[in-house]
Amino acid sequence: MSVRRGGWPLPALAMACVLLGTGWGVPAAQIPAGERRSGYEFMSRETRAMQDDDATNPGMLWVLDGETLWNRKEGAAARACADCHGDARGSMKGVAARHPAWDAATGRPVNLEQRINACRSGRQQAAPLAYESRDLLALTAYVARQSRGMPVDIVIDSRAKPFLDAGRSAFTRRQGQLNLACTQCHDGHWGEKLAGIAIPQAHPTGYPIYRLEWQSLGSLQRRLRNCMIGMRAEPYAYGAPEFVDLELYLMWRARGMALEAPAVRP
């Protein structure tokens, strides 16, 4: 391919014009309920098998760590999660399916990570865990694991409505140097390929996920940052309210779908 100095290569420019003329320019409609697919269904047979078996799912290493942390006394209060919540297998069932959920103290929805940290600083009187730290991922994975197989259950009341709308507008707003909106790929072109990789529908049903590309477990916000960087947009900081609004919208958009945490993704 010949590249002109300081300009776009001609074929790329022609391609961009074609894209703008064929559907990439118009906002895509929401995916009908019957056509919603988890990212799991876009994966290879081998990666699915890896997720399905707890003996091969690397996310389970974090779940086991999380179980230890759940029972460990922390902070000035010298209390463990288990001292208040008891056995997570019962008390945490369905919790991940309801988050982001309304938090009266801050007057806005909070995600699972923020809820765990609020409990840490409030009840255990311990320092909050850093986003993407091993311990926070482990606890989140352990709590989310208890909701595996349960349907996403996000209820939007009048208090949460403005935050859902903010999330929706972030999803449909063009941003970054590529001037793309999330909806253009994930509502309009799912199932097609981007750089040889299937475009999923962006349903966050398996978080935290073990992403093979990361060689590690990661949160939904880490994944959202990846997408934003891909659009050449400046990502929000970890824990930013804009991210939580977007998480709320994505979970609401996936309502009724089964949770798979900890999922494996390519």
């Binding site: 890896m50 078996d53 707890d54 003996a55 091969t56 690397p58 389970m60 290493l61 086991l64 760590d65 093979l212 060689q215 590690s216």
Partner: protein, 106 residues
Amino acid sequence: MARAVVNVPAKVKRGEIIEVKTLIQHVMETGFRRTQLGEVIPRDIIRQFVCTYNGAEIFRAELHPAVSANPLLAFSTVATESGTIAFTWTGDKGFSVTESAKITVV
């Protein structure tokens, strides 16, 4: 202490071919990466994995820098007698983890 998950069928028939699956927590740092300041991140990998069945070695693997983090090793063997299947991972920085599983052959 790194976590290891081993999976061996608990009860099998004599002579049956069984699948043994092992998963271990490890960063598998290649030694080729650098920090933002240009310093080489020292290599930290698992070098060797050995599996013994009632003391006799049945599987051995050498691991290299290209192997992924949290390596998953699966292999098959023939269930000959009841006893213990033991697993040992050894590597850089004095890394050594031992895990075992009981198997009952009927």
